[in-house]
Point group: C2
Chain length 119, copies 2
DNA sequence: CCAATAGTTCGATAATAATGGAACTATTGA
DNA sequence: TCAATAGTTCCATTATTATCGAACTATTGG
């Protein structure tokens, strides 16, 4: 039963976290996890090859954002919200809120009238 | 009198902002500006060649974080705090707070007993 | 035990970004 | 007008990241 290394909270750095979240795909993973937790990797692939997805998850783990637990044949991912919040209060929340702001603005631009945009 | 292009707030993206701040040098520039505003580039160079500094300022401007005004022979930089906050409330503040947390933790590690660490 | 599933690791290639020297621009003070 | 100052722009080089196929690992169900 292989498990993963997760850095402890004291080791996390702001730049590493910001870098991890500065990639649109990784940010979308984190957003999905914030909405539904835990989740395996598969539903978050978005058409990418598995090796690429695996790489991005590794970056997120190294930054301390995501914890991956091996559960049977799937790897369950969750955000390290409490820990992150203990170390950098409000940081993750502010970033997620900013994403929400941004995407609702885009929706408005793309949906001028009464359409609704949930896919 | 040459001036700079600054993207308008509506154009700013979260990933661009996070990427801009994921570089330690750029983050230190932003931190300095948050403490003292406006400032020319020169005092923030930190021993780097001017072309490099100029590049990093361009990234910060493109991300919408910094505004540069030409004032005589110097270029005065300031944070676009209000605008940024209007677009992504609390984002910049949370990131700056996280930096403060991080650096105070490092100070504690480096200063075990009663020393004080202001240089 | 075998096949299927879910993901990782490796290795090569391509894309992005950082670095720094040299030449250039704009502004001011002498 | 000339020299000095403060940055920028251009360019080449290097370093970091991302991408993706192929081979590999661990776990489970049959």
């Amino acid at each position: 039963m292989k498990q993963y290394d997760h850095p402890c909270v004291a080791e996390l750095t702001v730049t590493q976290i910001l870098h991890a979240l500065s990639d649109p795909f990784r940010l979308s993973i984190v957003r999905s996890l914030a909405a539904l937790q835990p989740q395996p990797c598969a539903p978050l692939q978005g058409g990418r090859p598995k090796s690429s997805v695996s790489h991005h998850f590794a970056v997120l783990r190294a930054a301390g954002l995501v914890r991956t637990e091996v559960v049977g044949v799937t790897h369950m991912n969750s955000l390290r919200e409490q820990e992150l919040n203990a170390r950098f209060p409000g940081l993750l929340a502010a970033i997620l809120a900013a994403c929400a702001t941004e995407s609702s603005a885009t929706e408005q631009a793309a949906t001028p009238s009464g359409e609704h945009s949930l896919p």
